[in-house]
Symmetry: C2
Subunit: 195 residues, 2 copies
């Protein structure tokens, strides 16, 4: 991805996280990114294309900042739990990303052009979590009777629900992290001793 | 509540569910409700007051349309499960209410004036669910070891997360209902035989 393309997408994420999708005007975005509006139209073809690519960008970036310390191959359960808990933290990057993601998802309710990208990103996230649960079952750290895809769908939807409660001021960060922590034992069985 | 006040709040819910909060202009709302803009200002003092009251209205209305058949006193667990599943159904009233609720919650991330009303409504919902789980524990239909308030917070947050996935086209209604159904056994223990 070209540097200026990335610059534009970073700026779009910042603007959406600050003022919501309705606050995103191409002219303001151009000013924020320090590029011309023509360049934005050249790269993204218009507002709809820009929004879709921003959603994709946010989704890819989330994979990086939620990169847990636990190795996905040797500690798949710990990796999954860390990955989900990392979505709920005060770090400015995470708050910005989660705010923009929540806002684009809320916008997709009214804007069908965002739905395909949203569905793809959501499915990728669920599939990754499902794979980790299956690996953990093979490793013996998640109970065999757990239906991996169901647990993955519930845990990721719970993270989305809790994240929005936190970002909209209906629950504290401490509380949403505690509540999510409880969900791991509930969904995956008792936590194994870490060695 | 006066008839015209109710008319305005019903119209506001319709407009928000159709086009989102950004689509809500007082002039258009007046046309939709068949009243003057002056009357809207008289009753709600402005856009911020209107939004807060609409959030409260939606929250109260949800209590009515999600009134389950199972009696809360004699079948508290069945009542709770029905209440939560009723949030996920194709009925136009429910879709309208859930869409408007999700949109106002998403807006509260950027608009602090909505947060207190949102927090109150969310807390009332969690408290009601917590009370039902405690009653069910006394009746022997929910396992004793369940921490009622944690289960209530997770189940309601999961409903919000799943509802938004469904409304934004990332999951089918059948699938979100199935996934929520599984959460009941997970959180509350095996379902009792209904007599």
């Amino acid at each position: 991805m070209s540097d200026r393309r990335t610059l534009i997408l970073q700026a779009a994420t910042r603007v959406i996280a600050r003022r919501g999708v309705r606050g995103l005007r191409v002219e303001e975005l151009a000013a924020e990114a320090g590029v011309s509006t023509a360049l934005i139209y050249y790269h993204f073809g218009g507002r709809a294309g820009l929004m879709r690519h921003t959603l994709e960008f946010i989704s890819n970036r989330a994979e990086r900042y939620t990169e847990p310390e636990a190795c996905p191959e040797s500690e798949p359960r710990a990796h999954l739990e860390e990955m989900l808990l990392l979505e709920l933290q005060e770090a400015p990057d995470v708050v910005e990303n989660s705010t923009a993601w929540g806002e684009l998802r809320a916008t997709a309710v009214f804007d069908p052009s965002l739905r395909e990208q949203l569905r793809e990103s959501t499915e990728e996230w669920i599939e990754y979590a499902t794979g980790l649960i299956r690996q953990a079952q093979e490793a013996g750290t998640v109970a065999d009777h757990v239906v991996a895809v169901d647990a993955a769908e519930r845990l990721t939807a719970l993270v989305e629900g809790l994240s929005e409660r936190w970002l909209s001021g209906s629950a504290t960060l401490t509380r949403v992290r505690e509540v999510l922590g409880g969900a791991f034992e509930m969904e995956l069985g008792p936590a194994p001793d870490r060695t």
